[in-house]
């Protein structure tokens, strides 16, 4: 059984993490990757600086251990949250499932192999949060060899419990929604339920943490550790194992930590054997009504529209109807206000806090900052929906259709941009309307935000599609790879962060006024938009015509 599991895992791995076979392309990818990594160095530096400052502060109150347990618990939670997406995608919606099901494998073997794939993605998440904490703590506290050994063990086994929990949740949801006839729609509903669950748990934890936090101030004891570990009890053992790495108790905690992880994984396998096949079989079978369209229905549905409109509609229909695209590109635009509001909602005296905050926002001297920050946030959101930055990649092996239809590349690029701009505008409106309703920002500010952000959205869409044109990811076997495992999205987000950050930095540095910020944003990004547009219409079309699958 273990041999099969190993073979399956390594095959799936090779299949899912692949560099281009073309050496020249591969080098290009590696260089770009290094470039992005270099770009992240300042961020990493800032994270490390923040952690070591926190460490110093905690040492003074003798609570430095809570840094570890907070870090571990936080990582576990984030891994759990992403785990919902990852496990749903890899266990149920990835296209290899159909090829695996006929093989003589137990559900737990397929699940086990896929579990490792998810774990590898999650290590990347963990590397960003937990790794710096482990390293800073180890260096600052002068950890011995056992500390580093335990660190590696904790880092490697930490994702097991959160992923297993996320997968169990997903398996339950899928088991009971799979009875539905319209699979696509129910996949989307399942995804929304999953996300809402994640958001709900987030709110719950924050509420608990705040409740305990006040107690902790009253009693001044070590309860911060237990609070942070409340949701993932094993996080506490991991942290205690590391803190006590110098003595025997540490070993005990680590064994407990590993043992619990193993037990949870074992339960996951058992439940998987029971639930997985029932949820996954037929998941990719699309339903058909086989109903004849009546003459009047046909009359209504046969319509003529301008080419650009038809093409934009085609793009949007595919975005809304393909579960992976819907989750990654569409829902995000509606979810941002929810994410932004969580901190306010969870505070017990939420409304008064909100009131104070909105009082500050009313002051004329913060207006310029408010505008530029809103601009930056919306620019960022526009990048995260990834519609423009994957608009060529999403075509996949069907890119040949774009080539033989008698529709100019100019029109196709424009239509793809319009689809992206529409959805980003939805994100823009959902955020700014939430700001008007909850933060009570004045109406004129709402208008200024809309005007400048729209120009920003154009910028991010033009930039996104240019990036995607240069290096489209066309070879994928499931749609998720086109949008989620696509570096073009990272590049495009990076560009947006840099440009949005620059605008914010300049405003704060030169203490610009509202009018200056407003006019400045319009002129700066207006000119950028114009340049990128011209570039797209000339060079972009040339590149498009040269793309070959």
């Amino acid at each position: 059984m273990n041999k099969k599991l190993f073979i399956l895992t390594s095959t799936l791995l090779k299949n899912s993490i692949s560099f281009s076979a073309d050496a020249k392309k591969r080098n290009k990818q590696i260089i770009l990757f290094i470039f992005v990594a270099v770009c992240f160095i300042p961020t990493v530096y800032a994270i490390v600086k923040f952690i070591s400052d926190t460490f110093e502060a905690l040492v003074s109150v003798g609570e430095e251990g809570s840094l570890l347990s907070l870090g571990i618990a936080l990582s576990a939670f984030i891994i759990f949250f992403f785990g919902i997406f990852y496990s749903m995608n890899t266990f149920y919606f990835s296209e290899d499932v159909e090829n695996l099901l006929p093989l003589p494998l137990k559900p737990s073997q397929i699940l086990g192999a896929k579990f490792f794939i998810v774990a590898i993605y999650e290590y990347m998440t963990g590397a960003l949060i937990l790794l710096p904490i482990l390293i800073v703590y180890g260096v600052k506290s002068g950890g011995g060899i056992l500390y580093w050994l335990y660190s590696v063990l904790v880092f490697l086994s930490l994702p097991i419990i959160p992923i297993a929990l996320a997968s169990l949740l997903v398996m339950l949801i899928m088991r009971f929604t799979n009875v539905a006839k319209n699979k696509d729609r129910f996949r989307m509903i399942s995804a929304v339920i999953g996300i809402l669950f994640g958001v709900g748990i987030n709110i719950l934890i924050q509420k608990m943490a705040i409740g305990q936090g006040t107690q902790q101030i009253q009693f001044g004891n070590n309860s911060l550790v237990s609070t942070a570990s409340y949701f993932f009890p094993t996080a506490k053992f991991g942290a205690l194992g590391l803190i006590n790495s110098a003595n025997l108790a540490g070993l005990g905690y680590i064994i407990l930590f590993l043992g619990l992880s193993f037990v949870v994984f074992w339960i996951f396998s058992l439940v998987g054997d029971l639930l997985y096949y029932k949820g996954v079989t037929g998941v990719s079978v699309a339903s058909s009504s086989k109903k004849k369209l009546s003459a009047s229905q046909l009359e209504k549905q046969v319509v003529q529209s301008p080419v650009v409109k038809t093409y934009v509609l085609k793009e949007l229909r595919i975005l809304f109807r393909t579960p992976s695209y819907f989750i990654n590109c569409i829902i995000m635009n509606f979810l941002w206000p929810v994410f932004l509001l969580i901190p306010f909602v969870t505070r017990s005296k939420a409304m008064s806090g909100l009131g104070q905050f909105s009082d500050i926002l009313q002051k004329p001297d913060v207006a310029a900052y408010l505008l530029v920050i809103a601009f930056g946030v919306i620019l960022f959101v526009s990048g995260t929906n990834a519609i423009a930055a994957t608009s060529i990649s999403r075509e996949g092996d069907n890119i040949f259709v774009n080539k033989y239809i008698p529709l100019s590349y100019k029109t196709q690029i424009l239509a793809k941009i319009i689809a992206g701009v529409i959805m980003s505008s939805v994100g823009m409106f959902s955020i700014s309307i939430a700001a008007v309703l909850l933060l009570k920002i004045p109406l004129y500010m709402f208008l200024l935000i809309i005007i400048t952000s729209f120009i920003g959205i154009l910028f991010s869409s033009f930039g996104g599609i240019i990036i995607d044109l240069y290096n489209p990811k066309l070879h994928w076997d499931n749609e998720q790879k086109a949008v989620k495992q696509n570096f073009n999205v990272v590049y495009s987000m990076l560009v947006n962060i840099v440009f949005g950050g620059l605008a914010i930095f300049l405003t704060f540095y030169f203490k610009l006024g509202l009018l200056e910020v407003f006019v400045g944003l319009i002129i700066l990004y207006g000119v950028l938009d114009l340049m990128l547009y011209k570039y797209l219409m000339k060079k972009g079309c040339e590149i498009f015509s040269r793309i070959e699958y």
Binding site: S288, K290, Y311, K314, D397, Y404, E548
Partner: protein, 243 residues
């Protein structure tokens, strides 16, 4: 009419998938493009349709150069790819509307066409469903309908019979004949020799990127001086086996 002169196309600048090909497909004929797997059939078709850019050579569809006037040239032909798995998330009717809009088909005409084609291909009950829910053959039929809706004068079909049930295959062959009889052009690739033998006016045999033969089937038999009763299959095997 399709005129191909001195077309070459290589991948990775080393392997020539298509090597200096000349071909002319006349109006009023059904032209079969034969060859074993990997011979260069699909690459040739991709170059003709503008999906791939040729390294050298000229391609004209109804006298229009695909490299110089791509949009006009592309409007001349309808193309059925070998893989019908496209636009899977669109409903059949949405796909037909999409194609009709791209090729500027007027409303009245497209209504009549959709009605007529869905009846002929027995797809009336599936127009409202997503193409994803179709079987392979139904997808193939839908793609063919999307091509016929704009009534192109040149048909280019890559392995069009694959996956079609006997009735639909018969229907398609019949329609190809009707189209050629209207003095229009049908160019299709196949490795099913029976099909070629039955309906083609002329054929070309391609192997390893080179045209080995181009002409009528009788001429092919003549050309290789084989006995009367030797099957096309045997000729084909001998021809393509030769190093």
């Amino acid at each position: 009419m399709i005129e191909i002169s001195k077309i070459s196309k290589s991948y990775n600048k080393t392997t020539k998938a298509v090597d200096n090909i000349d071909l002319t497909v006349n109006d009023g004929e059904i032209f079969g493009f034969l060859g074993p797997n990997g011979a260069g059939k699909t690459t040739t078709i991709k170059v003709i349709t503008g999906i791939l850019n040729a390294d050298s050579g000229i391609i004209k569809v109804n006298g229009l150069d695909i490299a110089k006037e791509p949009l006009k040239a592309k409007k001349q032909f309808g193309f059925v790819p070998d893989n019908p798995n496209m636009f899977l998330r669109l409903k059949g009717i949405e796909y037909l509307n999409f194609m009709a809009d791209i090729y500027d088909v007027p409303l009245k005409e497209r209504k009549d066409k959709i009605e007529m084609l869905s009846k002929r291909f027995e797809m009336t009950n599936s127009l409202g469903d997503q193409i994803q829910s179709y079987s392979h053959g139904m997808r193939q039929k839908m793609i063919i309908m999307g091509v016929l809706i704009h009534d192109p004068s040149v048909w280019i079909l890559d392995e069009p019979m694959t996956g079609l049930d006997p009735k639909s295959a018969f229907l398609l062959k019949e329609m190809m004949r009707e189209h050629a009889d209207k003095n229009k052009t049908v160019f299709f690739s196949t490795h099913v020799l029976d099909v070629a033998e039955k309906i083609c006016d002329r054929v070309a045999v391609i192997n390893k990127g080179k045209i080995l033969f181009c002409g009528k089937l009788d001429e092919m038999k003549e050309h290789f001086k084989t006995s009367e009763d030797e099957s096309l299959e045997k000729m084909f095997l001998e021809m393509t086996d030769n190093e």
